[in-house]
């Protein structure tokens, strides 16, 4: 079973992990505007999400702006 750790939580992908980071965001219904992503601690530049392949076992952080002082 392919898995990814997304924001600290293990997610299973019975059909295999999405091919790219952009596809993962689509599957999670996360709007990619203003989202920052890290894969295994490496920041992925905005605009490169569709060219960034994913592999089972990777740890992904997705962050966005929220209200704050």
């Amino acid at each position: 079973m392919e898995v990814l750790k997304v924001n600290g939580a293990e997610k299973e992908f019975p059909q295999g992990v999405p091919g790219t980071l952009a596809k993962l965001l689509d599957e999670l219904k996360v709007e990619s505007a203003m989202v920052a992503a890290e894969i295994d601690g490496q920041i992925i530049e905005r605009g490169k999400f569709a060219q960034t392949p994913l592999r089972s076992g990777q740890s992904i952080e997705l962050v966005r702006f929220v209200p704050g002082g």
Binding site: N7, A36, I43, R46, V63, F65, G69
Partner: protein, 258 residues
Amino acid sequence: MNDKLVIAGREFDSRLLIGTGKFASCETMAGAIEKSGTEIVTVALRRVNIADENDDMLAAIDRSKYLLLPNTSGARNADEAVRLARLSRAATGINWLKLEVTPDPYYLLPDPVETLKAAEILVKEGFVVLPYINADPILSKKLQDVGTATVMPLASPIGSNQGLKTRASLEIIIEQSNVPVVVDAGLGLPSHAAEAMEIGADAVLVNTAIAGAAEPAQMAVAFKLAVQAGRMARLSGPGATGKLASASSPLTGFLRDD
């Protein structure tokens, strides 16, 4: 009156920065921001809430009108702050940053050592760094020396509404500073903001006092007016204070014979 606030070469008319946290709703937040006349609003960075499709407050902020100033709240040390800063820039291209390193959850006081360490790294990476600090004149100088765009000393703990508890130190920072001084945190009333401007602060940052008011939009107006009044007073050259009275009416021509 051409009295612009200049930060990193960019000019602003408003000397009131607004924090976007703690508002009851996005609509309330947007209304208060608009009424405040601000041009700079802070935001934080957190994990996307994957379970919630409507997890997006940014839609309520018109980015053509307001400069977004991401903060590194949540960072407990320099490494965490630098990571948040880089993520913020990767997400939006914004290289302005409110540097906030607050490991202590009780008073949320900023760690001076980690803040200076992070500032040095981030300035070298091309960030416009606005560091949140305690009202420490020496630290303030050191941060300017590494190239921060401002210093942002606190008046009292974040969200405490206590006002200018650090007034004496703020006055020293203001006197010695070569970069704009933005008093940030603990301003609870418009009179506190006016006081900060009267002692020479270049700007103030307010969040809780507005978001936590019963009428946030109206309180935002009150703060706007207070910041303008305080600044105008400062530029008008206030008179000295004295221990004894100094008569306001003439001391001659009294209606008596002695």
